[in-house]
């Protein structure tokens, strides 16, 4: 019998490399850092309990499916009191990453770059959940339609049609926002 401790170290070896992907998904789905952290922690503990049953070779997709399901049950429980959407939290997180990546740029470019990122993030966060998750899995995780279909438990054709609608909504939102800004 495998001891809990060696199961834990094997689990860490398999699961920890995907922690960023797990957090990124949870963060985009919940739109706030605090809930995303709690969800990922819960999802990882669940994954650990089910780890004996994991036989596949795609640990990332397996974990993402658990993170997604955990997000959904979390969101469902909170339907009565919707998740606090923390715009400031997002702005801070984006500031941090934008500044880190562009330290050598001049301030004007940095500012423009930051605005661009903020605008895109706001638009993406406004896309409804079931389309947003597909966009994140495709554009940020670069998963195949087949992997996304398995994670979201939908047919491959639905992945494509949700991407089509999601991207369309995103384009429209950005358009509305830029029109609003130039007025």
């Amino acid at each position: 019998m495998v001891s809990d401790a060696s199961k834990a170290s094997e689990f860490e070896r398999v699961a920890m490399p995907h922690l960023d992907a797990a957090y990124n998904l949870a963060r985009w789905l919940t739109r706030n850092n605090h809930d995303a952290q709690d969800i990922v922690q819960e999802a990882y503990l669940r994954a650990f309990r089910f780890f004996d049953g994991f036989r596949g070779d795609d640990a990332r997709a397996w974990l993402m499916a658990i993170v997604r399901n955990t997000c959904y049950s979390w969101l469902q429980q909170r339907r009565a009191s919707p998740l606090a959407y923390d715009a400031e939290d997002t702005a801070e997180a984006i500031d941090g990453s934008a500044t880190m990546e562009r330290t050598d740029d001049d301030p004007a470019a940095l500012l423009a770059h930051r605005d661009e990122r903020q605008a895109l993030a706001r638009a993406l966060e406004a896309v409804p959940l079931e389309f947003r998750e597909i966009l994140i899995l495709r554009e940020l995780e670069e998963l195949s339609y087949k992997q996304i279909a398995a994670i979201a438990d939908i047919p491959i054709g639905t992945v494509m049609s949700r991407l089509a609608r999601g991207r369309k909504m995103l384009a429209e939102t950005i358009k509305r926002m830029t029109q609003g800004a130039t007025k």
């Binding site: 922690l19 957090y23 952290q37 922690q41 503990l45 089910f50 895109l120 339609y145 494509m160």
Partner: protein
């Protein structure tokens, strides 16, 4: 192919996910359709904007630590010196003795060790359900909502009874993992206390009377009835938890 179809297939094409036949069909349509060419370009620009500008949120360092510390730690290696205290005239005799000893130890220790380990897991499941605020996947006080929720999620149907008249209202249910298998977790409340009842099929149909245990300030009662194992755990005092167990098992018959 009409434009509506093309504007969906456009995404599969752009993502390199179409099969050859559909890709050729799409290209044929695109070549003769300026509005779709327009849409294709817009979507291409949007896609590269997302790829380069959308924020990728990396996991905070403390999250990594939180998860690590919630996983079982490597136990200090158990010192089990296999020194022999006996000098036997023959190896066969030594072997026979050790077989006998092992058998005796197994007989004496098997049950309590299993029980302790399972109690530990049950308490762990209970604490986790409260810690991460994940008590139920189906939150309902109605047994007729909770029971069907388990359909298709488990290979058995857990008995769900309502004890609100007796002061233990049902709060919901969820799936958990215990004893090497998925189990049903039923959530009851009593005043401010939460009671988790884990249910899964027993190997035998014999009934087993309730046994009580206490650990780390939690009380556990487990019994076997109606072909199922029941493990109830709570921070409720032992007397009331036993009372709850009695009420629950009375309703199973």
């Amino acid at each position: 192919m009409n434009c509506d179809e093309a504007q969906v297939l456009l995404h599969g094409y752009m993502d390199g996910e179409l099969d050859v036949a559909n890709a050729l069909d799409f290209e044929r349509h695109l070549n003769g359709c300026p509005p779709c060419q327009n849409a294709y370009q817009t979507q291409g620009r949007l896609r590269s904007a997302i790829k380069s500008e959308a924020t990728y949120f990396s996991a905070p360092a403390q999250l990594r630590e939180r998860i690590r510390s919630a996983l079982p730690r490597p136990a200090p290696t158990k010192q089990a010196p296999q020194r022999s205290f006996w000098i036997w005239p023959s190896f066969a005799a030594a072997l026979a003795a050790s077989v006998l000893l092992t058998a005796l130890l197994t007989l004496r220790l098997a049950e309590p060790a299993d029980e302790t380990r399972l109690a530990q897991d049950v308490i762990g499941g209970h604490v986790r359900s409260l810690m991460v605020d994940h008590l139920s996947d189906v939150a309902s006080t109605d047994q007729h909502t909770v029971k069907p929720w388990f359909n298709g999620k488990l290979d058995f149907s857990p008995p769900v009874v309502d004890l609100s008249a007796q002061g233990f209202p049902l709060a919901g249910g969820r799936l958990d993992f215990l004893d090497g298998r998925p189990v049903a977790a039923l959530v009851y409340r009593h005043r401010q206390h939460v009671i988790n009842v884990f249910v899964w099929p027993a190997e035998t149909s014999r009934e087993a009377a309730a046994r009580e245990l206490s650990k780390q300030g939690y009380h556990v009662v487990h019994w076997q009835a109606a072909g199922m194992k029941f493990w109830a755990v709570s921070d409720l005092n032992a007397t009331e938890l036993a009372e709850f167990a009695k009420l629950l098992s009375a309703r199973l018959h």
